[in-house]
């Protein structure tokens, strides 16, 4: 089962992961998961909160589309993606990606590719809030070049 979700509320990765793994088929021998947490510092100093804006409807559809693509490519039947939006406190989970598969290489590849996408190309706009104020984070020109290569 492919399930993707953008959540404005905090979520508990452990509980979500336990529920996801509990539904595994008897030949799903490999479960890979990634959890990303909001870090307390960035290149620009301390971070107390991250604000992730998304485009309701569009962001969900893009994440689902990419997830289905990646799952199909690696023949992974079960993928769970939960991504926070809204205001996220330092230390809180931002993203959970998990995959169940009969082969571990496929599960690793699927989770890594979905994460690569989510970290750079997913429709989110990110603002870091720290003691010195708030700033929008936009991709570096390096990210930009890499992305244009991919699309080119």
């Amino acid at each position: 089962m492919i399930k993707t979700l953008v959540s404005l509320d905090a979520f508990a990765p452990d509980a979500e992961l336990a529920r996801f793994a509990a539904a595994r088929g008897e030949n799903s021998g490999a479960a890979v998961s990634f959890v990303g947490y909001c870090r307390g510092t960035s290149a620009h100093g301390p971070v107390t909160q991250l604000e992730l804006e998304h485009y309701p409807g569009f962001t969900e559809a893009e994440i689902e589309r990419i997830t289905l693509d990646v799952a199909g490519k690696h023949n992974v039947a079960d993928v769970l993606v939960i991504h926070r939006a809204g205001a996220i406190e330092a230390g809180a989970p931002i993203v959970l990606v998990a995959a169940l598969s009969s082969h571990r290489a496929a599960a690793f590849a699927a989770v890594e590719e979905i994460m690569d996408y989510l970290k750079t190309d997913a429709p989110f706009w990110k603002r870091e809030v720290g003691p010195a104020g708030a700033r929008w984070i936009e991709p570096t020109s390096e990210d930009q070049c890499r992305r244009e290569e991919h699309n080119g």
Partner: protein
């Protein structure tokens, strides 16, 4: 009526995340829409011209300035995606 949506720093420039507008009948393309917005709000107009700003018409990305906006229900202006 058409909803114009502004994300990320474009929202700050627009001063709002959403505007409900009646598109004049002579506004047919993305380029014409940007110019029309710029007439009423030059700062926002300039921000919308910035490299990397994408436009989605009814949730479909339109990468050419000549793409049609007539009849759209929702047009979104998106700065470069920052990822999650």
């Amino acid at each position: 009526m058409t909803r114009l949506l502004f994300f990320g720093r474009l929202r700050d420039v627009a001063g709002c995340s959403e505007r409900l507008v009646d598109l004049p009948s002579n506004i047919g393309t993305v380029a014409e829409l940007r110019a029309w917005i710029g007439e009423g709000d030059p700062n926002l107009g300039a921000a919308l011209e910035t490299r990397g700003v994408h436009v989605a018409v009814d949730q479909v990305i339109c990468n050419r300035a000549t793409e049609a906006v007539r009849g759209a229900g929702e047009i979104a202006f998106m700065p470069p995606l920052s990822g999650g």
